[in-house]
């Protein structure tokens, strides 16, 4: 199963997913230090999804869920390292997996449905609309739920990664003030 060709295909997939993620990320002007991280996460996620789709019988939405879950876990690790909200690099790394083609194919098929007038083609087109539409919705939800499950598990860490207490306390000690402790803010 793991031939050199297959491994090479996975590596190529990782590389092109990383390039795609960088390009789609810069549209939303991310912080400079987050761009490379999101490229790395995209490579891992997309490569892993490619591996799952090729070597197991998983469908595309379950494979996307697992890939997004891995991206979510890694993004929390990186978020703690470089003090950015996790979604700043987990969202761009999901972009190559967004089911864009399925989404517009749904619309195109609907346009074709209005234009067709004989019964058998119409039935075929309905199957097309339904297959593309459900794939879009399921993959989209799988991606977002997959990436946010780790955020819910590590709830308190996720929402305070942009807090830089270490520096705050160092500064406060030099001023002779008591240091601040992490306290859970009352959720409202």
């Amino acid at each position: 199963m793991m031939t050199t060709d297959f491994i090479l295909a996975i590596i190529f997939d990782c590389f092109f997913a990383a390039v795609a993620s960088i390009g789609f990320a810069v549209i939303s002007n991310p912080p400079r230090k987050a761009i490379l991280v999101s490229a790395f996460l995209a490579a891992v996620g997309h490569g892993f999804r490619y591996f799952l789709l090729q070597s197991t019988s998983l469908d595309i939405s379950s494979a996307s869920f697992i890939a997004a879950f891995i991206i979510g876990l890694l993004s929390i690790l990186f978020a703690k390292k470089i003090h950015c909200p996790a979604e700043v690099f987990s969202f761009p790394s999901l972009l190559p997996m967004i089911p864009g083609m399925y989404a517009y194919k749904t619309v195109l098929a609907s346009v074709k449905f209005i234009q067709s007038d004989d019964y058998p083609t119409s039935v075929n087109i309905i199957v097309d609309i339904f297959r593309n539409g459900t794939t879009t919705v399921f993959v989209l939800f799988a991606l977002v739920v997959g990436v946010s499950v780790p955020m819910f598990i590590f709830h308190s860490q996720t929402f305070s990664v942009t807090r830089i207490l270490k520096f705050v306390n160092k500064e406060r000690r030099t001023l002779g003030k008591p240091s601040v402790e992490i306290e859970q803010i009352e959720e409202r």
């Binding site: 997913a17 960088i22 390009g23 002007n29 909200p85 190559p96 083609m101």
Partner: protein, 257 residues
């Protein structure tokens, strides 16, 4: 200073802060959390209702004796994750270091006025991204180079029209039409073995990925109304993209993609 003018001043700032966060593409629960955190650092509480175009916010003191309400318009802005990240940091700084309102305001201005990445670099990177996207859909190198050129031109059209503040739905139809017309060169002249993939992926740079993700995230976090309106907006953009693409298909006479 009496409590009411204090509430009023903070409320003015928080309305700027929250509408800016919302406009640059932060998901709703983070907007609520960051805004209430700054309010708490002054000993107040902020309650807010968020729609696609407005934020309704009431700022009140602990005993609910004094309050200040406002309805704030969300101005359209381009997506910006840097502002998102640094404004989140600012809310923690305000909470931990008890910054004064003047300090927070000056840092806010500094963050918001930071220039974006050079648009020519963005253009080039997006073109490379869409070309490699074409490779992910198993296109060959001829298809990749055609998609590269199509994206370069299509995204340039989008940038130029966005600068002129033309209706964004019309921008999407035009950009997708231009990109897919160039993408269809492969189909017309039978270049390479995968001309269909070149045509199909040439418009994918227009897919509004971040609003789609934000919309679903809002829905599963319970902000259903904000999430659904984000998804409807994203769906509108995808429909516009499909209209541009189907114009091309009509012109070149391809009936299946």
């Amino acid at each position: 200073m009496d409590i009411h003018s204090e509430l009023k001043e903070l409320s003015h700032f928080l309305s700027d802060y929250s509408t800016c966060l919302m406009a640059v593409g932060t998901h709703t629960s983070r907007v609520v959390r960051n805004t209430s955190r700054i309010a708490q650092s002054f000993g107040f509480f902020a309650d807010m209702t968020i729609f696609q175009k407005t934020i309704i916010m009431t700022l009140r003191d602990k005993d609910n004796l004094h309050s200040y309400s406002s309805v704030n318009k969300i101005k359209p802005m381009a997506l910006n994750f840097e502002i998102n990240s640094r404004l989140s940091s600012l809310s923690w700084e305000a909470y931990d270091e008890r910054l004064s309102l003047a300090q927070i305001k000056s840092r806010y201005q500094e963050i918001v006025s930071k220039p974006r990445m050079n648009k020519w670099i963005v253009l080039l990177l997006v073109a490379f991204a869409n070309a490699s996207f074409c490779r992910l859909f198993l296109g060959d190198w001829q298809a990749m180079s055609i998609v590269f050129i199509a994206t370069l031109v299509g995204f340039f059209v989008r940038q130029k029209m966005m600068e002129k503040h033309i209706n964004h739905l019309f921008v999407f139809v035009s950009a997708s039409f231009v990109a897919s017309m160039i993408g269809s060169i492969a189909t017309l002249y039978n270049i390479g073995n995968t001309p269909q993939i070149a045509l199909g992926t040439s418009v994918l740079f227009l897919i509004p990925g971040v609003p789609l993700i934000n919309g679903v995230l809002d829905i599963i976090e319970g902000h259903a109304l904000a999430g659904v309106s984000r998804l409807i907006n994203a769906a509108l953009l995808i429909i516009c993209l499909a209209i541009g693409l189907s114009l091309t298909l009509l012109l070149i006479g391809v009936d299946a993609l």
